[in-house]
Homo-oligomer: 343 residues x 2
Amino acid sequence: MPTIKEIAEIAGVSPSTVSNVINGHTNKMRPDTLAKVQKILKQENYVSNMGGRLLAKNGSRLIVLIMTYTRREEKNAVQDPFFSELIGALEQEIRELGYFMILYTSSSAEESLRMVDAWNVEGIILQGCAPWDCSTYMKNTHIPLVFIDTYFEEGGEKFINIGLEDKRGGELVAEHLIEQGHKRIAFLLDEQYPFGVDAERLKGFMNIMKKHEIQFSSKDDFYVFSYRKKEREAYFKEFAKTHLHKYTALCFASDFYAADVVNTFRDIGVDVPEQVSICGFDDNIFASTCRPMLTTVRQDVTEKAKLAVNRLMQMIRNEPIEEKDTKLPVELVVRDSIKRMKQ
Amino acid sequence: MPTIKEIAEIAGVSPSTVSNVINGHTNKMRPDTLAKVQKILKQENYVSNMGGRLLAKNGSRLIVLIMTYTRREEKNAVQDPFFSELIGALEQEIRELGYFMILYTSSSAEESLRMVDAWNVEGIILQGCAPWDCSTYMKNTHIPLVFIDTYFEEGGEKFINIGLEDKRGGELVAEHLIEQGHKRIAFLLDEQYPFGVDAERLKGFMNIMKKHEIQFSSKDDFYVFSYRKKEREAYFKEFAKTHLHKYTALCFASDFYAADVVNTFRDIGVDVPEQVSICGFDDNIFASTCRPMLTTVRQDVTEKAKLAVNRLMQMIRNEPIEEKDTKLPVELVVRDSIKRMKQ
DNA sequence: TTGAAAGCGATACCAG
DNA sequence: CTGGTATCGCTTTCAA
């Protein structure tokens, strides 16, 4: 791995000239020196030493993806195909732009930011940040920062976020169920006091229920299960015994849980959708890998990743951002887990 | 973010002394200077600048995970929970050791190695490297390098690898099926000429078939389907019509495909395990998320990740490695996808 | 149009 | 025991 100095020597020019060629400061340069240096650069297989770059305060070409798992800390979290698809798509975008991706699961905002400083990171993509943590990040760094799927407590209009029409998704679910003749519907979540995407999905759902004057009480028809597999499945079994008779349809904020319920119900002889309809959210691999296949709301994770990186690049290049909070469209995908009720 | 020089100034010592404190060269140092510097380091929240470190040829604290997708390039690859579990576990280990992880999906070995040089990477973990590519890596770098799940074409004894008792896994499958009274068994793969883990799994399977003198011809009883979802499912449906009657059990080299077959068969009214038994491999989330749940061979991905990082650290610290090719144990997990046949 | 030199932050050697 | 100084590779400013 040759250095700039060595290249310069071979080319018979000074290191500055080589540096200029590399960095494209090439407007007032004689074409033949340019050509000569470029040729040697290529032929010697020059790779710029990142240590030098960093130190000289040139860009580090480093983007860090910070993932903060708030719950589902167990294997679930990491086995969730949403994460791997996101990571994969992000990495690809970043690499194709000539950047490198550091993956960092955050224990604390402070720690994350220390490492951002240490590495002179050019941009941060933050996934799974809790609303109350966002401002910690914003206050303590001026590095370009893009949130993914985040809803903010306050001052959110200053943050750049790539999210989803979560509320609309919830509405789609409710509209579809009502259209299919369902009138007694429950919503199940893994969090007593939902926030972020789950809260929005629920909100949209409730909006439509209200609009159509269908009975739904967030006290009686909203149920909370555990994110831990064993407890969750026990809960579903219990639910089947004690509450299921009250409903014709059950809604979930993710396919992961919806698929789990379908399986658990099957194990105890509850037929989906004959005895109860189930609706998921995300349209990830679990939706089509489950039988019956889930009716669900589709989101395009790869698109989300691409947009996040593009937005970040705009910030890095100091371009103005017209749309700070992007909400990608959602779409209802009708499959087999919802039964049409007799009117 | 203060620099060493600034810390030195505040402490009233020289930069060298501060550096010595940071790097633990502290044996011949007066305890009070040590204490003083340490205090200021903490109070000023010192974070060492990685550019400086890199340039001074101190460790970069960088580990790169290179993932080479050979096939299943589509969403499957990246949605495969194996990858996310591996990535997650690797990141955690690496971070806890005070290192940082760069994630890089490789287009070519050369490109990967250029970036390894540029960043002064301390260690490489290589997942999914095809046998014929391994030596490219080995020949062109002296950076510590650990392979995951790799079988080598030749000279493999020089490589450090963390793998699985794949062959034993194949044996377990065959033994179990035979024990359950199956005599007509097919093996299905997504590759005409399997290599790596798939080849070993198949080999182990065939060994046992031969040992028990049960008919299995790699010409007639070995089937190749496509890794593309649509084509694959079409293939399975066709298979059900034309070949299924010849077998009582079907073996796969991954839960991903086994679960897919279970679902596809269900769609066309083929009952698993009543009409045919199915066996998977990996015991990942698809195995227990599928109905009937899959009988399969368990591997511990997290353990694999931990071992890989530990082995890499040994190499980085120049410690001798007693075991170059580690094969983690496998275990048969009996669930519901294999029927006991009448003898 | 090109080059010399300073400086970025951390380390290590050697002198005191 | 501590500090001065050269060094790593690259960028940038300014002078020629």
